[in-house]
């Protein structure tokens, strides 16, 4: 068990940081990378943050949550509320109220919308709302020792209930159409390439922080207990650990991570609506995780990026058969690559070692056997 970051990992993270925070944005402002590409990658990286949150739960704690899309969307909605109020008189009706409220005949801003004029409040809510919701839900679920498939079903029901609630116009959250047509963020025009570049950089920074934070967490003693819960919760309980508390912490943390990803997703994509919190969106995130390789943290990042890039490409290149292409790929990965994309180098290394073994004279066999044993 490694308890600190390896040098090569830090170098890799450093290189990505350099690329994402400096090189790519610089190339974009020089015109070598299109604004479209930057915007698209910003979206993929938001999805990657969501995928990490799923991995933290599923890969490391054995909690297959199908409700992460809810927390992702809630983050988006919280920032969305602020963005809606920042449109001001630039909207369709030239009114201070968001367009959909004018639509519904409202003449004054409802009380619970008032504080969202402040960016700081919205930012706080991005953390607080999903945090509280997951805290209450998690507390009840874990205290009742709900686990396995029942936990999955409950979280799925939670996100479905959320989407049904947000679909209703009465909730005053834009109903089916949600929030769109954003104009300003912190006084800056969201539609300019410079601001989109800034959001991309922010997303890269968030992804790196979340990755490093989660890596660190999984290497601590806490991380060990977390994995012990995954592998045998009963033994953890017998050893005197309050498994429920550990799970609750992870659940709340994952909710907040997803929410942060969602908050950055909305200004880059330009829309948030209830169909983002339907259970199939959560399932999609689980698929990214599985394709990338769960329990590796960076696998889900690869999964989120590659699946979404493939989707972007295929919906344009093969608009009629892209679902079959994507579905076929998932089946292939599950059948032949259960460890996901992340397991490919390991597999290659093993085959190479095996080939080497057969090439070498018989006398060398014990040595490799020993090294293999120590590695295992």
């Amino acid at each position: 068990m490694r308890r600190n970051f390896s040098r090569s990992e830090l170098i890799a993270v450093g290189v990505i940081a350099l690329l994402g925070l400096i090189v790519l944005p610089a190339l974009n402002s020089a015109g070598l990378i299109s604004n479209f590409a930057i915007n698209l990658w910003g979206k993929y990286l938001c999805y990657a943050v969501l995928a990490i949150s799923v991995d933290l739960l599923w890969g490391y704690t054995g909690l297959l949550s199908l409700g992460q899309a809810l927390f992702f969307s809630l983050g988006g909605y919280m920032l969305g509320m602020h963005l809606m109020l920042m449109i001001g008189k630039l909207g369709q009706y030239k009114s201070d109220l968001p367009d959909f409220m004018v639509f519904l005949g409202y003449t004054s801003l409802p009380t619970f919308w008032q504080p969202f004029r402040s960016f700081l409040f919205a930012a706080l809510m991005i953390l607080a709302v999903p945090g509280l919701l997951s805290g209450v839900f998690g507390y009840l679920a874990f205290r009742s020792r709900i686990k396995g498939v029942y936990f999955s079903i409950l979280t799925q029901a939670l996100t479905y209930a959320g989407s049904l609630m947000f679909f209703r116009n009465d909730l005053l959250m834009g109903g089916n159409n949600g929030f769109t047509d954003f104009k300003l963020l912190l006084g800056l025009d969201l539609r300019t390439p410079g601001v989109q570049r800034g959001l991309f950089i922010a997303t890269v920074a968030l992804l790196l922080l979340v990755y490093l934070g989660c890596r660190w967490l999984t290497m601590t003693k806490f991380g060990l207990v977390q994995r012990a819960v995954r592998d045998s919760e009963t033994r953890v309980l017998f050893s005197g650990y309050a498994a429920a508390n550990y799970k609750l912490f992870i659940f709340v943390l994952a909710a907040i991570i997803a929410s942060l990803g969602g908050a950055l997703y909305v200004p880059q994509v330009g829309i948030i609506n209830p169909s983002e919190m339907t259970p199939d969106k959560s399932l999609e995130a689980v698929v990214w995780c599985a394709v990338g390789g769960r329990g590796t943290l960076f696998g889900p990042v690869l999964g989120a990026i590659s699946v979404n890039a493939l989707k972007s490409w295929a919906t344009r290149a093969y608009p009629d058969s892209w679902l079959i292409i994507l579905g076929g790929l998932f089946i292939l990965v599950v059948l032949f690559l259960p460890g996901g994309i992340a397991s490919v180098p390991g597999l290659l290394a093993r085959t190479m070692r095996r080939r080497k073994k057969s090439d070498e004279p018989i006398a060398a066999v014990p040595a490799t056997a020993v090294s293999a044993a120590t590695e295992a």
């Binding site: 090569s8 090189v23 790519l24 479209f36 109903g175």
Partner: protein
């Protein structure tokens, strides 16, 4: 743990690939803009997901229109090259695809969207990147983007003429029922104002009212969520509602929820004679998935019906069927195809755009929009349609009665109704006779 080294190298490799990919993408030349003999045109509909059943038909009719135009020499001597993308009933994906069409493919115009939310999600993209979108499906109005042309029915080209028709037939009570989203909510709010301006008392408008703290009505009618299946209680309520005299139902339920509703309706003994239902979301194409038998005698209102008898319509239907047989485009259903209003309005949009381009002698969006705003007429399958300065169309509205074969018998035609997107608050003039476009329109009985 050697594994880590491999993992890091993988991360590194991935990062490089990311960088290369983006650079390659950015540097890739946009071939369409350079070639001289074709013009790229975007088709942005859902070919998968919940909306696919409706939207693939629009993709088909657009490809048909392009082929028809290309066979006659194209637009300004250029062949139309369709760029079909799949929005997959996923609204953020719609925005992404719109960006892709405008930024990478540099399409001259895009035809697309069905749901209001998909239009709302691409609207900022079209405005920011100065694109042009033709939107073909009936909608709630309250919108007028400089970069969108709404060939769709506005509320006064569907809902208010339908109410006019019912009033003229002596109906006194109106029950409003819809799916809970923005189109039914807005339509019903407008209808509430319209009915009251026509002297219909509040108690004769069924479905319930909701008021805010200040007492303003913010919602009228009964709403059920998407995918709702239990209509027993609502139908019982309607049955009670009909007891007091000539009543009808104004139905803005979404697609598949109509099946359980009409089943329950028939089971409760309600018929088109006792209490007719006027539906705004059921056209000929919907009967591929809905049992027409349960709807026989119920009413529909659109700006086109397949049963319209005109030489243009006859030729249009025949040519489309011929094209269906001949086409080898992947994914097109060839059997049992019909045409309906959203399809014809898509088709009209293509020809209006073609005319505007030819008049402007340019594909430039600003110039094309300027021509469209001046007023361009096209004699389509549903009669003459003319563009207006407010980006909507003047066109004829038809009331039809459902037949067992899923077609409509046309009962009445309102000629040349001017499309008006902003209707809320327009009919407040209470009992005094309101001056509305629909009322101005010459109502003639269809031969």
């Amino acid at each position: 743990m050697k594994l880590h080294r491999y993992l890091s190298s993988l991360l590194l490799g991935g990062a490089l690939a990311l960088c290369q990919g983006s650079v390659a993408r950015a540097q890739a030349p946009t071939p369409a803009a350079k070639t001289t003999d074709t013009v790229k045109v975007g088709v942005l509909h859902s070919l998968s997901g919940t909306m696919a059943i409706s939207e693939t038909s629009l993709r088909d009719i657009l490809l048909f229109a392009f082929d028809e135009i290309n066979a006659k020499g194209g637009v300004l001597g250029k062949q139309i090259e369709p760029v079909v993308v799949d929005g997959a009933s996923n609204w953020p994906l719609f925005a992404e695809k719109a960006k892709q069409l405008l930024d990478q493919d540099k399409v001259a115009v895009t035809f697309g969207c069905w749901t209001s939310v998909s239009r709302k999600s691409v609207l900022p993209v079209f405005e920011e990147k100065k694109g042009l979108l033709f939107y073909p499906v009936q909608y709630e109005g309250e919108e007028m983007s400089p970069n969108i042309f709404y060939t769709a029915e506005a509320v006064n080209q569907q809902a208010t003429p339908a109410v006019d028709y019912m009033l003229s037939k002596g109906y006194k009570k109106f029950y409003l029922l819809g799916s809970d989203y923005v189109y039914p909510q807005t339509t019903n709010l407008i209808l509430l104002e319209y009915l009251r301006s026509k002297g219909v008392p509040l108690e004769n408008i069924g479905g319930g009212l909701r008021k805010d703290e200040a007492g303003n009505i913010i919602s009228a009618g009964k709403y059920t969520p998407f995918g709702h299946t239990d209509y027993q209680q609502i139908v019982a309520e309607i049955k009670q509602f009909t007891s007091g005299g000539k009543a009808c139902v104004i139905n803005t339920l979404n697609g598949d929820t109509n099946v359980p509703f009409f089943k329950e309706y028939a089971a409760a003994g309600l018929t088109a004679e006792t209490c007719p239902v006027v539906s705004f979301s059921i056209a000929e194409d919907e009967f591929r998935g809905l049992p027409a038998k349960q709807l026989v005698g119920q009413l529909g209102c659109w700006t086109y019906f397949q049963s319209i008898k005109s030489p243009e319509n006859k030729k249009f239907i025949e040519d489309f069927q011929k094209w269906l047989k001949a086409t080898n485009t992947q994914g097109i259903v060839k059997q049992g195809r019909v045409v309906d209003s959203p399809m014809v309005l898509s088709y009209d949009g293509v020809y209006l755009w073609k005319k505007a381009v030819e008049q402007a002698k340019s594909f430039d969006v600003d110039k094309v929009v300027a021509e469209l705003e001046k007023g361009i007429s096209f004699t389509g399958p549903g009669g003459v349609v003319t563009t207006q300065k407010n980006h909507h169309l003047t066109k004829s509205v038809y009331i039809g009665e459902t037949k067992a074969d899923g077609q409509f018998k046309i009962l009445q035609e309102f000629k040349n109704v001017v499309g008006e997107p902003f209707l809320k608050g327009k009919f407040k003039a209470a009992v005094t006779t309101p001056v509305t476009n629909a009322a101005n329109a010459l109502a003639v009985a269809h031969p």
